[in-house]
Amino acid sequence: MADISLQTRPSRPMAEVVIDRIWRFLCSVRAAIAEIAILSLFVLTGTLRGSEVPQWIADLLPFTQPVVDKWYAWDVYRSVPFAVILAVLAIAIAVCTINRVPTIWQTISHPKLTTSRGWLRNADLSATYGTNGDVQSLSDEITGILKQHRYRVLTQKVGEDIHLYADKNRYAKLGTFPFHLALILLLVGGIVGAQYGFRNQEFTVTEGQTRDVGHHTGLSIRLDRFQDLYVPMGVASQYESTIAILKNGKEVKSGAVSVNHPMTYQSATIYQSAFGNSIVLKITDPSGSVVYSDALPMGSFNLKGNPDAPAGLIDLPAVGKQLVVAGPDVAPFNQPELDKLKLQSGELWIEMSDRDPALAASTKTDQVITLGKPATIDGYTITFERERRYSTFQVAYNPGIPIFIIAAVMLLGGLAAIFYFPQRRLRGIVSPAQTGSSLQIAPLAKRDWSAKRDFLRVMEKASEKLGEPEAMKLPSKGSEWQHFTGSSTMAP
């Protein structure tokens, strides 16, 4: 009786299996495509959120209104699922790229040189040439022809035959690496910018006022002048702020800032964002102490009930009061019925109330005050001193910008290498024939029309030196091949 012994394969450690599966998942092209598709869906959801499309859906199908409301409320790009898919995609790109390096490098540096007659016979496009010379001289001839077309030609002698491999633009395949690395760098740039930079989107300064930038920069910005110019139709033709940048109180740079023309000093860049009118108010409490003396930008808010009346809000936590300030209607002919206050130029409507929401309604007192004339509301003396222009800037520092620029160059360079220098590959066998030698050659161009066309063009040139091919196998499908001459024939 035969002695049968069973050998079981040693089981791999659990951790190894898990790592292997994760690695495979991250390397999977199918998974990568699914990740891009999911990212696309997120982007589409976020894009539509910024449009009226969801509301159109709700208007058409009223029962979807709750979903649409949630859709509008969901900040897709700051959501956890979006961050997760971006992170997974970035890791997958990195892993995929690392995984592809050996294969691509192998194809470039050590391609397989031999082929089989069966492969050449089954290729849907091939050419066969015959000459009276020996195998080596025909091999040298076709090598010379292909080199003229910028092909690298590698040969290997197998018995009496010479197997031939030729390729062009082999290094262009490496373009995939800078392209994919650039995508990761773009994300890195965004993270670096968010983590180590700052961005103040509502940095408002009134003419003559100086305001600290903060963020440990030691910088302040003084608005010397704001100027806006309009064409006769009322469209702004230019608006610019003349500013001075101060470092620890000392002026270090000055000049004009306008849209598309920011000013940079050291780490901070100042961008023109918005502008308007402000009012300079002074408020003293019943004891005569000044509790507020500053410029209040008007127009950041509008008065409830009249969208054409610019308004501002003063919060005085030290004295437990808050003030709503409204100016004259800026478009009195637009819905004049909404202008209940009928304020004239140089007048302001002020409503003072307690900061405590429970007491706000019962403590409301309002009054119209006039430029230069102190008025008393609830014991507080309020003086409307003057009007001034204000500018709202964005003050930002983004250390991710150099990374972004490098990524942009890599991305475009990678794409250009991949698409504009496509790799072309040919295989052939030169073998002895009854009257000399013969060459059978075919492109590696399965379902690649352009590669086939390029092959035919090279073969046309080859025919000039080697004579007409003994056989030319053309693709069975496509009338254009029958008409192919490589010149100006219009097919069909």
């Binding site: 910024g50 961005r199 849209v259 961008y271 499908k477």
Partner: protein, 297 residues
């Protein structure tokens, strides 16, 4: 000068409409009624009539090419004259943007026609261009006048390159759309007068290999511009993200085609979807708010 520019646009519209009709006739081919008579063993004859389709007339195809050349020439001249009159690059509103698209669309189609030596694609591409001319005619008359450029659009050289790359990308990708449509037709019915499905697939792919880098360039230049104008290179603005969505769709196409070997029907459907996303981005100004609102109508 502005009026003459408009007359040139009108001439290009007529040429493009004529070209679209010629190409459609060329692509549809000729239909002939064929009568077949059979005689039965009893001596009775039976006659049947059926439609036979054949390639379109070469003359009509050539007329389409000629009209497209006229359309490209006159739309280009219209842009040039308008730029001379305005003393700046004219890409600042939907009229000018669409006019540039008409020129780029016809010109890029002619390049593909010459490269691949096929005319059938013109039936789709020139129809898209003709549709765009109808859209331009439907715009308010005031837009035909030259208006001062708002400060936000005065960004020096980057603005024409950003908008120009968008126009070129959309134009070239409309050729890929045409290739995809004809691929589906060729794959479904295999009409003899159409080029091979493989060639049409290749036309679409080549168009994407030009259009996708241009889309990337548009996004990058837009980011560079956004950085100098808004202080951030990406704002998640709806128009930005719509363009990003289109970019992702074409990225899916390229990955599925080059790495998964998807060629043919599935790829063609992705291209149809990609083109729909481009239209969505192009006309997004009508229903998007956000930072690109000034570029709208």
């Amino acid at each position: 000068m502005v009026r003459f520019s408009f007359y040139c646009f009108a001439a290009s519209s007529l040429a493009i409409w004529a070209a679209a009709i010629c190409y459609i006739l060329y692509a549809v081919g000729r239909v002939r009624l064929a009568h077949t008579t059979m005689v039965t063993t009893t001596g009775t004859s039976v006659t049947s009539t059926g439609a036979q389709f054949g390639p379109g007339s070469l003359g009509i195809g050539r007329a389409g090419t000629l009209m497209t050349c006229f359309g490209a020439f006159f739309s280009g001249l219209s842009i040039l004259l308008r730029a001379i009159a305005a003393e700046h690059v004219v890409l600042s509103n939907m009229y000018e943007y669409s006019l540039a698209f008409v020129f780029a669309c016809t010109a890029s189609y002619l390049v593909f026609e010459r490269a691949y030596k096929i005319r059938q694609l013109g039936a789709i591409v020139l129809t898209v261009a003709a549709g765009m001319t109808f859209y331009i005619w439907s715009l308010p008359v005031e837009m035909r006048e030259i208006n001062p450029v708002v400060p936000a659009l005065r960004a020096g050289a980057i603005m024409p390159f950003h908008v120009g790359s968008a126009v070129l990308a959309y134009s070239v990708l409309s050729v890929s759309f045409a290739g995809a449509v004809f691929f589906l037709v060729a794959n479904r019915w295999s009409p003899r007068w159409l080029p091979s499905a493989e060639m049409l697939d290749d036309v679409s792919f080549r168009a994407v290999t030009i259009g996708f880098p241009l889309l990337s360039l548009m996004l990058i230049l837009g980011s560079v511009w956004a950085h100098s104008a808004w202080g951030t290179y990406w704002s998640w603005d709806p128009k930005e993200t719509a363009a990003l969505f289109a970019w992702l769709v074409y990225a899916i196409y390229l990955h599925t085609r080059t790495l998964r070997g998807w060629r043919g029907t599935r790829s063609a459907y992705i291209l149809l979807f990609g083109f729909a996303s481009l239209i969505f981005t192009y006309y997004g100004n009508y229903f998007f708010g956000g930072l690109h609102a000034y570029g709208g109508v």
